[in-house]
Symmetry: C2
DNA sequence: CGCTGATATGTACGATCGTACGCATCATGG
DNA sequence: CCATGATGCGTACGATCGTACATATCAGCG
């Protein structure tokens, strides 16, 4: 449609190293807004302000594009997760960090919640995307295991996922005190 | 393609009251296999062995079809959930029931896991589907609250969701003992 | 300054999509 | 037994999809 390429100034684009990254970023925006179901080469190209031809030039197909996009997304979330948890010194700090992660520091935006579920859905069906989620989970778990034993880390990870879902679906406001209580019940008494 | 309608015997189909149900059931199968992204009127019609025209006749559009399908799915899962939990007499029974639900009695099949996440993903973006998930959650929570206090019921619900995700994504086998331990930590000591 | 190979782009094609709509088919009242 | 309205079906249409490919564009070199 309009702006598909004709409207763009005919500036030099050769050797634009950010091009691929811009496409990936735009892809995440499109997914967040329209879902994987509504994501097309054309929409992503329009969002990234690149010609349609760039899609097949930079990516072999939709699958590679989606993998790149979700790979970047998972990595960025995992990094925030690690940073937040690395800042904790004591065990109490760590529990507080986990609670704050749940309450909103990491999964603050609806955008991220939506993207997370889109990824999970893809991974639940296609093993290729499970590599992405597995790497993500491994990093999260490793970060947790710096503060908690393996068993507790697993439980906390599950609790985070579960409360995240409720956050994404629920219209009810989440209760920080309740989150804190749940974390303490799971991780409060080391054994 | 083949069997789109031509291949079917020209028997009378008038007043086929199961028709709509069959379409809904077929829709769930298609979603489980191809995802919401890959679900089309044509594919569902083929799976249900009904002519394409029946789609627009029985449903105003894709959205109504999806809502009907996921409504039926959520209701069926919630019913199994309630039954399993209603069978519990003592508090210990209830904790065991929750653990067994997680381990696989309710979410036993990959099909159900996939469908659940497809629904969550839809609900995360479109409020119309949140009505379905809210009703489901309300039923689950009510079933839990027959055995646990409100706070604990919320936590257990979240734990179920979280461990379910790990089950759907993880290649690792879930550990029944660990699940039991997590349930007991959350619900073991009433306060 | 002209040549050239690598790089990026615009367009065209075949497939598939959702949906509208005219026609066939049957249950029913006379 | 026939006329008739309600019910279900097959098909055709416009839109949109992913992708291939010929063409345009530029950096680097002689």
């Amino acid at each position: 449609m309009a702006g598909d390429g004709g409207g763009r100034a005919a500036r030099s684009r050769r050797h634009d190293p950010q091009r691929r990254d811009r496409i990936v970023a735009a892809c995440l925006e499109v997914i967040a807004e329209h879902g994987v179901a509504g994501t097309s080469h054309r929409r992503v190209a329009a969002a990234a302000d690149v010609p349609l031809g760039s899609m097949t030039y930079h990516f072999s197909g939709m699958d590679e594009l989606l993998r790149a996009a979700f790979g970047r997304f998972a990595s960025s979330v995992a990094e925030r997760f690690e940073r937040r948890l690395a800042a904790a010194a004591t065990a109490a700090d760590a529990r507080q960090a986990v609670a704050s992660i749940i309450v909103g520091e990491v999964f603050g935006s609806r955008r991220d919640l939506v993207l997370t579920h889109e990824l999970y859905t893809l991974a639940a069906r296609e093993p290729a995307f499970r590599a992405v989620t597995n790497a993500w989970m491994r990093r999260s778990r490793a970060a947790l295991e710096r503060h908690f034993d393996t068993t507790t880390a697993l439980m906390l990870d599950a609790l985070i996922e579960g409360l995240t879902i409720h956050e994404a679906l629920g219209t009810q406001p989440r209760d920080p005190a309740l989150v804190r209580l749940a974390v303490d019940r799971l991780a409060g008494q080391p054994e």
